[in-house]
């Protein structure tokens, strides 16, 4: 692997190797940039992934201290673990599921379309669907997502047969097995899916797209990228003129190093990204870097979500096959007649027994609970994924008390449900139950949110520097050579799962950096 010196001042430093950071790294590498990527986690090869939910969680997840506060269910049920993120090369996408819907046109303009909503900080994005369309195309090609760009549809597994038949009988029409970023057949040097069921534990077969099997090896092959694993950025440093000039990071032994940089891009996901910028605060920037707007860390979003499980008389075996290759779109529209703004998707979900028993009824016990456990092989699931409203008071801050292994302030994640979120969730639970009852279920269970896999909004994109942290290219308003390259930059969350949009935004960002690097 190519190696750069710590005092090479002409490198671009990218923090985080998930879809955001890895996409930027590959695009810049192809254009000849010299790149150092810092990834807090290790390289775990596909063959070393384990088909075991608990062991895989420990192997791949970010388990540093965190604290959830606020009225959201996660602060009650999983206060130390409000979000589920990766700490590994490839980021959270090493164990994502892979649904890739695009945003809808109006989801970039929610302040205009939904109107003023009390206690929410809705805003229009400074870009729209037209500017992103070609990047969406490229992102779908990069991921090889099913149903798109000539890729075939995923076949139906058992869980999908229940979902789709229930949807059809409930009067829904807009259901399918994707778009789903896993190979049905060989593509991009990777095999078709074995329908092995384990992907939230890392996909051993490489059929599922992640940066680990695509962008990272491709970027390394250019000879332009040095990937430093087990390297956690702890501070972005500024020169006297207020430009980013380096990144201090801790290696696996906790020893600090300083890599000089001409450009810094932060892609640590929406909790670690604002945390790092806050930790980088100086006497000149006491509230953190790029925070002249005061918006850094605010407007944290994580989708309105919950799960509906349903028992049937006959076998389902939801654990077989691709866990999330099924989606119902009918409720993803904005239809205020339903009593709330925004929309939601109903997505198929499958879990192994350890996760099922942890999330189906957090804290549950006794004979009713064990009866549901014994129905496991006859159970199907729907995961709700809806737009939640941004609120300035839902935010990531530095804890005054909790510290990580380096002695740095841990992040606190505060979130109060908006009444719009609760109205949407109630509607979604009821519709999910209708779908399953239509398919013949006799008993349905509403489960609360699982630790958030979608984390958004904490370095919000805005046209004016006073309204947000970054511009439409993810360039911070305050520091021209400091970029954010992850879902932190979402102005609002839309109903769609976020990763395709993260990648599309970063593809656009990469072009901007390439075209303007002489002047930024």
């Amino acid at each position: 692997m190519t190696q750069y010196a710590l005092d090479d001042t002409d490198v671009a430093v990218i923090i985080g190797s998930g879809p955001g950071g890895a996409t930027l790294a590959l695009q810049l590498a192809l254009k000849g940039f010299r790149i150092v990527m810092l990834e807090a986690g290790p390289w775990v090869a596909n063959e070393d992934f384990v088909n075991d939910e608990r062991a895989a969680f420990d192997q791949l997840s970010w388990t540093d201290p965190r604290l959830a506060t606020g009225s959201w269910a996660l602060a009650r049920n999983f206060p130390a673990s409000p979000a589920w993120m990766g700490k590994v090369v490839g980021g959270t996408a090493t164990f994502w599921t892979g649904l890739t819907p695009r945003f809808k046109n109006h989801e970039f303009r929610t302040r205009s379309v939904y109107g003023e909503i009390a206690d929410a900080s809705l805003a229009d994005w400074p870009i729209g669907i037209d500017e992103l369309a070609s990047y969406y195309d490229r992102a779908e090609v990069a991921m090889g997502t099913s149903h798109r760009q000539g890729r075939p549809p995923m076949p139906a597994n058992n869980n999908y047969k229940v979902l789709a038949n229930g949807a059809e009988r409930a009067g829904y029409r807009h259901y399918a097995t994707g778009p789903y970023a896993t190979n049905v057949e060989e593509y991009d040097g990777r095999p078709g899916t074995l329908q092995d069921g384990f992907c939230q534990q890392g996909d051993k077969s490489r059929a599922k797209w992640s940066p680990l099997v695509s962008e990272i090896p491709k970027a390394l092959a250019t000879g332009q990228l040095e990937l430093r694993t087990n390297s956690q950025a702890v501070q972005v440093t500024l020169d006297a003129g207020g430009r980013a000039d380096g990144v201090v990071y801790a290696d696996e032994h906790g020893a600090l190093h300083r890599q000089r940089a001409a450009l810094v891009a932060v892609a640590g996901n929406a909790i670690e990204t604002p945390r790092l910028l806050m930790l980088s605060g100086t006497s000149a920037h006491p509230d953190g870097l790029a925070n002249s707007s005061g918006q850094l860390g605010r407007n944290y979003m994580r989708h309105t979500t919950g799960v509906v499980y349903a028992e049937f008389d006959q076998e389902v075996h939801m654990y077989r096959g691709e866990p999330m290759a099924g989606i119902i779109n009918d409720e993803s529209r904005h239809d205020p007649d339903r009593g709330f703004a925004g929309g939601y998707y109903m997505e198929m979900i499958a879990q192994g027994l350890p996760s099922f028993t942890t999330f189906m009824e957090p804290g549950g016990w006794g004979p009713d609970f064990t009866a549901k456990v014994e129905a496991y092989t006859r159970t199907a699931g729907i995961w709700i994924c809806g737009e939640d409203l941004p609120r300035a008071s839902n935010r990531v801050t530095l804890s005054a008390t909790l510290k990580d292994h380096l002695g740095l302030a841990a992040p606190e994640v505060h979130s109060d449900d908006h009444e719009n979120d609760l109205a949407m969730l109630e509607h979604a639970y009821a519709q999910g139950e209708r779908v399953f009852r239509a398919a013949g279920s006799r008993r349905v269970t509403r489960a609360p949110a699982m630790p958030s896999g979608h984390n958004l909004g904490t370095a919000r994109m805005s046209a004016a520097a006073s309204d947000g942290v970054v511009n439409s290219y993810g360039q911070t308003h305050d520091i021209p050579n400091l970029f954010v390259s992850d879902g932190s930059i979402f102005t609002t969350g839309a109903a769609a799962n976020p990763t395709l949009t993260i990648m599309a935004l970063v593809l656009r960002q990469a072009e901007y950096i390439t075209a303007n690097h002489g002047s930024i």
């Binding site: 109006h106 549809p153 139906a156 229940v162 059809e168 074995l194 075996h317 077989r320 006794g366 609970f369």
Partner: protein, 164 residues
């Protein structure tokens, strides 16, 4: 049950097993998984002083409140005793740890019908990922219809509109 018998007596272990079964009763599931679950809890408590304290304290309190040792008390009575203690640190610890270890036990997996790892067996591509036959084969392609982005579903879908 544990080599560290100064921490947990045989009677302690027997009571914890009875509580584990009362918390997560599965008729027909042998004692072995419950025994392993309690052994795991005890070995964890033997290196976590706060957990040991919580468990010991809770057991002593429960025995004082019950007419007999948990090991010789029927499940329904134990469940009532547990329900009365739902807010206590003892209940929270024992419930959480019992669920954690019990549902990670492969004998329990087999009992429930969860087979665990599949990659080494070639996944389910040729082993029934789509063998459900009690429902018709559904469409997998996306619908050819337009989904309105704003406003109600079209009139082709009156059912949904009516039920919403």
């Amino acid at each position: 049950m544990t080599s560290n018998d100064t921490l947990f007596s045989a009677a302690d272990s027997a009571d914890l097993v009875a509580l584990a079964r009362a918390l997560y009763p599965h008729d027909g599931l042998p004692d072995a998984p419950y025994l392993r679950t309690v052994a795991s809890i005890e070995s964890r408590a033997s290196v976590e002083p706060a957990l040991w304290h919580t468990l010991n304290d809770g057991l002593v309190e429960l025995r004082g409140a019950a007419d007999a040792a948990p090991a010789s008390t029927d499940a329904a009575t134990l469940q009532q005793l547990l329900r009365d203690r739902e807010g206590t640190p003892f209940f929270r610890a024992i419930r959480q740890l019992t669920a954690w270890y019990l549902y990670d036990d492969h004998e329990v997996w087999a009992f429930v019908g969860y087979p665990g790892p599949s990659f080494s067996l070639g996944g389910y591509l040729h082993r029934g990922f789509n063998d459900l036959a009690w429902l018709p084969e559904p469409r997998i392609e996306e619908s050819g219809l337009d989904l309105p982005e704003i406003g109600p579903l079209d009139s082709a879908n009156p059912t949904v509109k009516a039920a919403s």
